[in-house]
Amino acid sequence: MKTVTEIISWLNTPGHVKCTLIDIKDVVTKLTPKTEEDVYFSSAVYNNNDNLSYIPIINGGLNFSESLSIDGNISSGFGSLELTNAGGAYDYFLDYIWKRRPVKIYLGDITWPKSDFVMIFDGLIEDLASTNESTLVISLFDKLQRLNDNISETNLSTTEYSQNTEQTLLPLLFGECFNVQPLLVDNGSSLDGGQVYMYHNGPAKGIIEVRDNGNPIEVDEDITTGTFTLQTGPRGTITCSAQGSTPYNNTVAGIITTLVKNYGVEINRFTDAEINFAEFTNNSKVGIYCKDRTNILDACSQLARSVNSGLVCPSITLEANGTVSASKLKLVELKEPSGTAKYTFTDASMVEGSLSVTQTFPIRTVLKLSYCKNYTVQTSIVAGLNPTINFSQEYLFADFSDETLQELYKDNGTVEPDETLLIVESEAQTELTKRKNLWSKPRFLITATYLPEHIFVQLGDIVSIQSTRFNLSVAKKGIVFSLNRDWLSGMIEIGVLV
């Protein structure tokens, strides 16, 4: 495989002929008996001698879009491949099963052996459809869709506890959570003891405090099963603060790693080789309690959003040695751009007429951050039982406001809080400062189409952008916020938050 440097040099060589190869694995071509085959498409004729038959029918629509989100919602990448189907030559593809098949896309020159091609996309097929008489379209999405699944479907009926006549889902707790309501799994009859409550279905680090209507009580704890047994019957609502799943981890990256590796449908789980959180250095402590049916993507989104970050699965991963490897999960922290720029964008690589300001982000003159989530709001607790804790409000808050900015931007100063799963006050303050530095000054999304030499740019990369327009005559640092790749031409539309 060529290195990134070699590919960029080739892309700038006059007369090169780009060829995009698409390898699709395990397409079901026949149901009885079930037959799975690999299918190969190309954008240009590619007759090599490795016995792979590339069908040269990619005629357009070979693109893929990825983006970050300022509100922390997870934004999956999506794209398409258009296949020429003149005269219905490939109508039989409609009978194949393409859904969720892994697809890899490679870029190289028509004169190169396949081993020299470099991977530019590693994702999944959503499905194949026909948009008109002469075109078939394969929709693509990134591997994040493998997380679009419930964390767990394990319920009480699968256990030996006395309450196994119920279908209630067993709870899961990751990191540290305050005042959660554990699930009553046994009324004491099967174990000939007190009532048994579960806060995490599996080995847990342990409980911090158990409360009966807010009043701390003594219990018998079993950390191997994430349960505790009451020593006397309950007087009111049983709640607890606890540290969950082991091996214990209470950072955003740590909990997401636990979720994507160990939960959801087994074939969709990620391996260590598919996760790359090495560059994500935010170690703020968080926790999440899942007692209802919870989507893994939603849980990851809540965790990442807590530190103003996004979980993405870029098309490919650039390794330190200058080679490209398969797509890996990545966390991108949205903060004021700083550090060394990985790429420099200038007029020399911007396509004429493509530069524009596509979004102006609102100034935030007031910020309110919620943290230390109280999972069980209790307004009727007798005063004085536990005076240091306020059970009646869902969150604690960290605030920032700037009256000068409010005056400048005619802002009335009211704001909805940014909900987080942070649990430590000082870290909530740090997070607040980070968001203040990012949003208390004008921010723009500068979008332009760039020559193929920037085809390896990734979401979250710190870049430097300079142009004769939009006050960019002095280079500004920015963070790559959106990407739209056209693999047929190699051109790439990049949105940079400056």
């Binding site: 780009k18 004729v45 016995n51 028509i110 007029d347 193929p452 051109m491």
Partner: protein
Amino acid sequence: MANLRVLYNNLADSATITASSTVLGYAIANVQNIKKTSVHRSAATTNTVTYTLNWTSDQKINGVALPATNLINGSTIRVTLYNSAGTLLADSNTVAACKDKNPELSVAYTSNVFPYSGATKTSIWFDTLYSTVRRVDITLTHANSLTSIDCSRIVCGNYWESTRQASNGITVGVVDNSIITNTRSGDSYVDRRPTIETMQFQLQYINDKDRKTLLEIMKTVGSSGLVYLCIFPDNTNPEITQSYSIYGRSQSNSLEYALYSLYNSSLNINSW
């Protein structure tokens, strides 16, 4: 001197074809479809390949053409025709096949560059029509040793030859679909895309017999079928023969009544 010849009814598509060697994945059946990029590839253990075309009934043949190969200057072709008894009817002997088509792309010269003006054309024309042909052997020898020969298509049949040569002003061209993008700084960037060849010419004052044949070709082949057309079939310079040959589809052809029993035609061919 021969006038322009047109092969419009390809008998090779109804033949049973075998090749003396084949690389797995590049079957000889590929020469019987109309995809330029779908090729037969001979083994690189030698630089020669022989295609043998067999029919179960007698065929009328006097022209054989290969519209896209990776042969280069110095490569040769030999075509022999046989009847049902295996008796040799005609032998072209070994002759030069072509000249390099696109030197720039000749380093790794395979069918991968066919869409980028990289294919060479070669043809053999017999002055006599043989009506009892059961077998045709086509032997190609690449100028480079130990080189696979890629061949997209075999065309053979009974050609039509105009009684008058195409008028002066024959125009050949190349339509390059490459996309040129300019940057804000004023540089340009080229995204190279496939090319097609074009040919336009006039046939002036053709007789009534030619008019009828030409009209028949227009109606039966039209724009949907492929024809192999060679303006200078007997030129001793294979580069001239190749440059003024085209395999493609006719576009917006017309016949003009010029004088009593004399007709003009304007032909416009785009390559496949």
